[in-house]
């Protein structure tokens, strides 16, 4: 099963990159983009057909390696084969 993990900064954690992008968008004339924030995306293929079990496995990977839980939050999205993308 294809799984996507989105990793974002916890609220309140400074996001210098987001600020820099926002600033640059502004100076390029995109006045109406606000609250730019940045995150990471990790996709992987996991040898598991059951969505729940896949989620559990990936959650463990997130906690032990993929995510810095001190400053980051994460969301796991499973791409269920016959259903298309899942929100």
């Amino acid at each position: 099963m294809k799984v996507t993990v989105t990793i974002t900064l916890k609220p309140g954690v400074l996001d210098p990159q987001g600020r820099a992008i926002e600033h640059s968008l502004l100076s390029l004339g995109y006045q109406d983009a606000k609250e730019v924030s940045t995150g990471k995306l990790i996709t992987l293929d996991i040898d598991e057909d059951d969505e729940n079990r896949a989620r559990q496995k990936v959650a463990k990977m997130c906690e032990t390696l993929l995510v810095n839980t001190v400053i980051e939050d994460y969301d796991i999205h499973c791409l269920v084969a016959d259903e298309g993308d899942e929100a």
Binding site: K10, G12, L14, D15, P16, A20, N68, I71
Partner: protein
Amino acid sequence: MTNTVMSYENAAEMGLSAEEFDRVCAHMGRIPNLTELGVFSAMWSEHCSYKSSRRWLKTLPTTGDRVIQGPGENAGVVDIGDGWAAVFKIESHNHPSFIEPYQGAATGVGGILRDVFTMGARPVALLNALRFGAPDHPLTRYLVSGVVAGIGGYGNCIGIPTIGGEVNFNPSYNSNILVNAMAVGLARADRIFYSAASGAGNPVYYIGAKTGRDGIHGATMASAEFNEDAASKRPTVQVGDPFAGKLLLEASLELMDSDSVVAIQDMGAAGLTSSSVEMSAKGGLGMEIDLDQVPVREDGMSAYEIMLSESQERMLVILKPEAAETAREILSKWDLDCAEIGHVTDTGRLVLMKDGALAADIPLAPLVDDAPEYDRPHEQSPALPVIDSGTISTGDSVITVLKTLLASHHLASRRWIWEQYDRDVMADTIASSGGDAALVRVHGSDRGIAVTTDCTPRYVKADPEMGCMQAVAEAYRNISAIGATPIAITNNLNFGNPEKPLIMGQIAGSVTGMGKAAEALGTPVVSGNVSLYNETDGKAIDPAPVVGMVGAMDNVAQSAGIALDTKGLAIFIIGQDEKTNDGWLGCSVYADIMTDNPDAAPPPVDCAIELANGTFVRDQITAGVINAAHDIADGGMLPALAEMILAGGIGADICLPAGGNSHGWCFGEDQGRYLVATDQPDQLKDAAASAGVAATLIGTSGGKALKLTGGDSISIVELKTLHEGWMPDLMAKSPQR
């Protein structure tokens, strides 16, 4: 005024004792509110008030011909000649780096840089003294890679070379790593900026990044009474923004150049609290601040949060009233926030306004002058026996021992670390990691400043006073070995809980030893930092009073490196006579790796000998008699020689003394010694004789191996594999949290 009534319990949560809380109430003439108590607790914290260590720190020598500013300002300042001053300090970021190694270490670097440029100096060098747990501890690799990446991430991005440091691995740091960062800057001696406020009515400006809820004292914020909405006020890790740091650096220096600044101070630990309190108290004045003017990053921040936030990349500046426009122009060029948040008063009080109402009103004199100071009970560590090297020597061949030691966590190359640091940016680096001291040139001249950090916790644990003298002496040797004149030191005292008499004894002993050595070697202490309570589950770290030293030389072309890169040079041990055929193995790297490491006294330090030998080596280097020099430290003589061979790619033939204990002679850690290589052996010998310095010829450079009398040898290639391989191998295994 917000009037949640504070209690002993609240005080305790903020780290103040009942007696301290009573004192706060007495000074205030009433019970303080949350913000006021927060200000007191921050200012009276160990970190800001040095309440356990101050009594001892006062005993340190802090003055000298070249001292322009001793302890008490953001950084120490010394005269390095030709109108130049070196501005430097070291600071710890131990706890944050354990919680979040990358950001903790990065913000440590950012913080110490601000301490230096806030005095008007352009930072030119960074160093780092690191202590990690056992190499095989499950957290170690994760912490090492995060901390090193964080130090590099900040220093590389801001464009200041990271050129030296040291790393130890020891299980006592498993759950309490030490991350100490040192920064050195250069300024014209007559253009130093200070923090004392002056001129009632002068505007107070906030410049730099916006304030968020970063690093607000965890224990306090976890307490439900203080906030209705605990989740949103959760203390967050400080995130470093080296780009903002770079802008702040350039903007601050430009502002200081523009003649607009009356006084300036960075917002470091305890943020706006310590900066506003210290600036006004030092000037004997007061300050009124409207917290609604402070640029904030998050909505609904309370007075308490704004005052205690440790958001990075911020400065507090008192401007000349007519300079406001200039300041705004400079800050806007660098895209930084800039706000007038208050003014200097002559009331002697810190008055804070929030939402149009009085949020705090604190008398400054007692807050600063009556900060608690304790003479905590201290107990000396029991003296350990002096061990005869013969009783612990193993039957292994010298080469076998050398191979084991060079590939041990004590002595293995740290290249894996320092290749992640930009050591050459600013294009004035003459020598950096891999040698003794590092050396940078004063831009546009031949003058150089040499820098090093040193401490051997093993020695300090065994004998705090002698061990800390050793730290100063080793720093002195490192500076001398490159040919520079040692000038002054900064220090970072990393210890466990001072409320325990044995720990307090370590502190007292270390400071005493540091003072003695600093006095004797003519290197006063001009700045420093104290980090206490480094304990986990009641177990203290091995004591680490890290010494950072700065030296100077007139012409960097006269410096020496450690590289043995020429054939046919005579190799001498300076500081050891020809009759010596043994050495001090107690408390050594040899004892730790090769034996079951019995408790033993560390090698003694004799400052008079250090002074004589250091002066001799330095003089012979500048006179061009010495081609390469290396001090003998951890691991003893033979590993030091191996490092010289590895650096230069030329081998050596060494003659072991007859009789005696070859392990002691090769691996003993007797102090005050250097290895030097020269193409003028007679001249060196004569000079040593007339200086009364011991010098022993032990061999000659040449070939592609290290050869000992009797035929035992090891090739440079093999030496290199052992020495360079350990750390990459360790780090190649996956990190784990």
